[in-house]
Symmetry: C2
Subunit: 346 residues, 2 copies
C-alpha cells in the first residue's frame, strides 16, 4: 500500500487556491487527511472538496500540527509569518508567493528543470513566478542541447495573475466597450497603489511595483528566478512585463541566443518536442501557434513561432504560452509535492 | 499668397481614409479643390468634409486629371492599378499601402527620420507600415547620438489596423465576455484566410500571412522597412508581431543595442526628449508610461520604460506607443504632403 499524506491548503479561496484543489483531485494526490486554512475573517466558512464539505479553519501556527505538506497561496506576508511555523511542526511547505524565492537557503523548483534541487530543501520549497515557470520549461531543453548565451523576453500577461478582483474588473470594463471611466479602475496595475488604469482595450506595461533601477518587481523576478532555477548566475536575461485584457494564459515573445553555432530551427523544434511538459504547436501553413484562449485549462507549456534570427546565426525567436494559474502556479506546486513523494524526499 | 492644391483621397470611407480627412481639416492643409474617389460600388454616395457634402466619384485613371496630390488608402491592388495612372497625369501619390514600399525606385518616408529622401521621389511616395513608423521615430535620434547595432521588437498591436470590421468583431466578442464561439470569429488574424480566431480576451501571434521563412509579412515589413527608412541595410533587426484586444494604439517592447559604450539611461532620455514628434512619458515613481488607451487621438509617438539592460552595457529597453491610425498612417501621410510643400518639392 502506498503512503498517503496530511495536506493543508492555505488560501484555498483565492484564484490559485481553487486551482490547487482542482489539481489535487484531478491528479489523485494521495491524501489521507486535508484541511483548509485561511485568515480569521474566512474561518468558519465552508468549502467543498471532492464533493465533501469542509469548514475552513483559522491559519494559526498550531493548525499545522500533524500536517505533512502545506500548500501556501495566501500572499507573501502570510507565508512569511506562518511557513516557518509549519516547518517547525514538521510540515514541508510549498510556497506559491515570492516571500522566500530568492533566499539562498530556499530551493526554487520547476520539476522539469531542477527536480534534483528538491533533495536540498530546508523545509520551505518556493514555487517560482508564473511567467518564469513557463519560460524556463522551454529554455532548459534548449540549454541542455545547445547552451544558452542570452535571453530577452517581452510578456503578454493575463489579469488572473492579479486575482479574482482583476478578472471582475476586466469583465465590467469590457461590457461597456471603451466607455470605461478612468475613475472606475480600482485594481490594476497594482492593488493598493495610488493610481489605477483601465485594462479593457488597454495594455499596461507595469506588473507589480517599481524597483529603483526602473524595472518592475515582476521583471526582476523573471530575471533573478531564471538564473537561480537554471543554475546560471551569469546568464544574460532581460524582461519587459506587460498586462493585457486577457483572462487567463500568459504569452511570451522570447529571443534566445544559443552557444553552439549552426543550430537550425528544426534542431530547436526537435529538442522541444521531446521535452517533458512541452507541447510544440508550430505550423504556420495551418495557422497553428499557441494562444492563451486555447491554453486555458491545459497542463502543458505551449511553444510555437520558432524562427531563426535573420541577422544572428545563434539567435532564435520563440512564442511561449501557458495557463498562468496551472503550470504557472497550482499545477507546478502539486507537481513539486508529487516529486517529493516519487523521489522519497518526504 | 501661398499656393493651394487639388487633392484626391482614394479610400476615404476606410478607417485610415476617415482619419486622413480629419487630419487635412485639423492641420488646415492648403486645399484648393478636393475630390473623393472609391470603387464603382461606393461611387455616387455622399461624404462630408469641412461641413460640406461631396459625391464620391469612381476611381478611374481619368479621375486623376488635374490632381496635385493623391492620397491612397484603399488596399494594395487599387494602389498598384491606379497610382501609376495618377502619376502619369501629373499627381504626386502618397500611398498608405504596402504595394510599392520596397521598390528600389520608390522612397519610403517618415518625415522625422528621412525627410531628405522626398527630394528623390519618382511620383509615388510610400507611407511605411504603422508599426514601423513609430519605432523608427524613436530609433533615429538614438542612432544619431549613439549609433545602432541591434534592434529586437515585440509588438502589441490594436485591431483597428485590420479595419473597421475587426473593431466591430472585437466589440461583439467583448460583450459576450469569454463566451464567444470560435465559429463566430470571421476577421482576424487575416481577412479572407481559412481559419479565424477570437480576438477578445485572446492574443494572436499572427498579423498578415506567413512568409516561407516562418516570419509573417508584418514582421518582414518591420524588418525591411526599418532598414530602408534608416538607410541601414545591414542593421540587425528582428520582429515578433502580435495582435491584441485593443481598439487603437500599437505598443512595442524594443531592445536597442547602441554602438557607443558608456551611454546612460538619462543620455537616451535626453535625446528622445529633444526629438521631434516624440513625447517621453517615463516616471515610474508616478506610474507614468505610455499606454494605447491614452495615446488614441494623439499625434505624438510616446516613449517610456527606458531602462538599461542589466547584462549588456550597450543594451537598452524602451516601450513605444502611438496611435496606429494617426502617426502610424493618416498623420504621417499628411505630414509627407506638408514637407513636399515646405521643401518646395511640389
Amino acid at each position: 500500500m502506498s503512503k498517503s499524506y496530511t495536506v493543508a491548503v492555505v488560501g484555498a479561496t483565492g484564484a490559485v487556491g481553487e486551482k490547487m484543489m482542482e489539481q489535487l483531485e484531478k491528479r489523485k494526490f494521495p491524501i489521507q487527511h486535508i484541511k483548509f486554512l485561511a485568515s480569521k475573517r474566512s474561518a468558519g466558512k465552508s468549502i467543498v472538496f471532492k464533493g465533501q464539505s469542509y469548514t475552513i479553519e483559522e491559519a494559526t501556527p498550531e493548525a499545522f500540527n500533524g500536517v505533512d505538506i502545506a500548500l501556501f497561496s495566501a500572499g507573501g506576508s502570510v507565508s512569511k509569518e506562518l511557513a516557518p511555523e509549519a516547518v517547525k511542526r514538521g510540515a514541508v511547505v510549498i510556497d506559491n508567493t515570492s516571500a522566500f524565492r530568492m533566499d539562498k537557503d530556499i530551493v526554487l523548483v520547476v520539476p522539469e528543470v531542477n527536480r534534483q534541487d528538491l533533495k536540498l530543501h530546508t523545509g520551505i520549497i518556493a514555487n517560482p513566478n508564473c511567467s518564469t515557470i513557463q519560460m524556463v520549461c522551454a529554455l532548459q531543453p534548449i540549454k541542455d542541447a545547445f547552451g544558452l548565451n542570452n535571453v530577452i523576453v517581452s510578456t503578454y500577461q493575463a489579469v488572473s495573475g492579479a486575482g479574482v478582483v482583476a478578472i471582475n474588473e476586466l469583465e465590467a470594463q469590457s461590457l461597456t466597450f471603451g466607455k470605461t471611466k478612468i475613475s472606475e479602475a480600482q485594481v490594476l496595475p497594482v492593488k493598493g497603489a495610488e493610481i489605477h488604469y483601465p485594462i479593457a482595450f488597454n495594455v499596461i506595461p507595469q506588473i507589480d511595483t517599481f524597483d529603483d533601477n526602473g524595472y518592475t518587481l515582476e521583471e526582476m523576478k523573471m530575471i533573478n528566478e531564471t538564473k537561480k532555477i537554471m543554475h546560471m548566475p551569469n546568464l544574460s536575461v532581460a524582461a519587459t512585463c506587460v498586462r493585457l485584457p486577457v483572462v487567463s494564459g500568459h504569452s511570451e515573445s522570447v529571443f534566445v541566443e544559443v552557444e553552439k553555432a549552426g543550430v537550425s530551427v528544426s534542431d530547436i523544434r526537435s529538442v522541444l518536442e521531446s521535452a517533458k511538459g512541452i507541447k510544440v504547436l508550430d505550423n504556420p501553413a495551418k495557422q497553428e501557434y499557441p494562444m492563451p484562449l486555447f491554453a486555458e485549462g491545459q497542463d502543458e507549456v505551449f511553444v510555437g513561432r520558432i524562427r531563426k534570427d535573420l541577422s544572428n546565426d545563434k539567435g532564435f525567436h520563440i512564442w511561449i504560452v501557458a495557463d498562468n494559474l496551472l503550470k504557472g502556479a497550482a499545477l507546478n506546486s502539486i507537481q513539486i509535492a508529487e516529486v517529493l513523494i516519487e523521489d522519497g524526499i518526504i
